[in-house]
Amino acid sequence: MITDDKRVRIITGHYGSGKTEFAVNYATILVRLSDRKLAFADMDIVNVYFRSREVRKEIMALGIRMIDSSANTSADLPAVPAEAFAPFEDKNYDYIIDLGGNDIGTNVLGRYKKFINSEETDFFMVVNVFRPDTMNVEKILKVKEQLENTSGLKVTGFVNNSNLVRETKSENILLGDEIISEASRITGIPIKYTTYVEEVVLDMTSEIKAKLSGEVIAMKYFMREPWM
């Protein structure tokens, strides 16, 4: 259950693995299931387009505290505001942090190091096996190591977000499950979630869902317009 995850959830992964789409969907589900206050921080300092701050309005409409660039939304060099410290300290909050991709995106966590208590922090690694740099077990483990090295945190769960965008079929997700399960077996890190976009994966059935690891999350696109 999403509500059983640790208080602070940091969403990381390879560049282009779908972290932001997952983080926003995760937030919308968590806010529905939990009575606790929820803050969402866009700490993506890597991407120039497709950042969660672009859906600030939608996130705030759900009663989520949105923390994002204190400079302009479309700025080249976003600034993470001082407010991002608050939910680490204020235990009344559940906190979701959407990082930029790769170890470069993880660098931003450095400044919060003193405030991150690993006991109350989940560090989820989003994986799409159709991205060239995470297409097999070896590559996934290499990226995992890079993310851990720059953050000083250990990955606590994989998210199977394997997809071919609007061309995704359930077989693609099953392939992702097979590959990430092997990474999971080697590392002992569970696959916490498997995602699929409801309007896209039309051949998803309850039998297939039963074969997938972790909790299966039906997502919708927040970051992608219908013509994308």
Partner: protein, 353 residues
């Protein structure tokens, strides 16, 4: 080969490597930074040379050098960066140096915004270099098309000994989509390097690349040769466009790149309401397609661009009747929605279902 997910800029870079490009010279600028970022890592691994030059001006002149020596070479930039390259692009034209220039457009003028735009249509098709010239301009509307166009751009560049521009708005560069990298493209005949490239001549007859034609009649002859033997042939052979829902259409949107995707959704929406409207999508901006605009059944051509209106003039020229051409655009980094395009079209069509 199975599809993978790539960001447009990465895919452009990978496509260049697949096409045999082993030299890249560039300078960072958003929203195309993933092209040099990717190549700085992967081009080296492929045995090539990547140089982050001290400026765009330096980069295009390195392109001039590598291209003169017969290498497949590429540079990429975005709007103000492409502006800086203009002089060098003109030199590549005059020296008949094959090279590929990727232009990921952002909102201008000047430094502008990093958000996507199509405001550099004129910059690509008319250019800012001096003299009489044309450059083939390919306009992808998806990550797959960007891959195909980059590969094809090298073929066209080598075949006609000309720079080729691949122009896309920043969104194509930033978007993640499934791609098939190994999809083959049409190959073309090319002149053997021994006939022109520096270093491929003989001791007695070394090859040279020349820009200066100091004798006026010779300079005129060079221009005439370019237009008769090069540009006329390109216009004959290299025009590309696509049509969507045009069979029974009485109205036609005209759009390229990202705007063509948005308008396509608007067409679907309008078709559901019973409007006979389709889409003409130029895939080459120079040479600009002429045939689809000779369609006499079309009452109005609705040009949509992410600019204040630049391609619209090419459409007017192709249609030959200004009254039949209307324009809708958003600019400065704003992306239009299918709904606003459909609403605009309904106004133009005046309920003509």
């Amino acid at each position: 080969m199975a599809k993978i997910i790539m960001k447009g800029n990465e895919a452009v870079a990978k496509a260049a490597i697949i096409a045999g490009c082993r030299y890249f010279f560039g300078y960072p600028i958003t929203p195309q930074n993933e092209v040099p970022e990717y190549l700085s890592r992967e081009l080296f691994a492929a045995g090539g040379t990547f140089v982050q030059a001290e400026s765009e001006v330096a980069a295009i002149n390195m392109v001039y050098g590598a291209g003169s020596a017969g290498a497949r070479v590429m540079t990429s930039s975005s709007s103000p960066g492409i502006a800086l390259k203009q002089e060098g692009i003109g030199y590549c034209v005059a020296g008949e140096v094959p090279c590929v220039i990727v232009s990921m457009m952002r909102g201008g003028p000047g430094l502008g915004t990093i958000q996507p735009s199509q405001g550099d249509y004129n910059q690509a098709t008319r250019g800012g270099a001096n003299g009489d010239y044309h450059i083939p301009v390919l306009a992808p509307g998806s990550v797959q098309e960007a891959v195909d166009d980059v590969k094809e751009a090298f073929e066209i560049a080598d075949c006609y000994r000309t720079p080729v521009i691949v122009v896309a708005d920043g969104l194509i560069g930033q978007m993640m989509e499934p791609v098939e990298l190994e999809k083959p493209v049409k190959t073309r005949n090319t002149a053997p390097k021994s006939t022109w490239a520096i270093g491929y001549g003989t001791r007695e007859k070394p090859n040279t690349i020349e820009n200066l034609v100091i004798d006026a009649p010779a300079c005129e002859q060079k221009n005439i040769r370019f237009f008769k033997e090069k540009y006329a042939v390109i216009e004959q052979n290299e025009v590309k466009y696509e049509e969507y829902m045009m069979d029974d259409s009485e109205y036609a949107f005209v759009a390229y790149g990202t705007t063509s995707r948005i308008v396509r959704n608007a067409v679907n929406e309008l078709r559901e309401k019973g409007y006979k409207i389709g889409l003409i999508k130029p895939r080459t901006l120079w040479p600009f397609p002429q045939v689809p605009f000779q369609n006499k059944k079309i009452k109005k051509f609705l040009v949509a661009e992410m600019s204040m209106g630049q391609m619209v003039y090419d459409v007017q020229l192709a249609v030959g009747d200004k009254e039949k051409v209307t324009f809708y655009g958003r600019c400065g980094g704003i992306i239009p929605t299918p709904e606003e395009c459909a609403e605009y079209a309904e106004k133009v069509m005046g309920g003509g279902q």
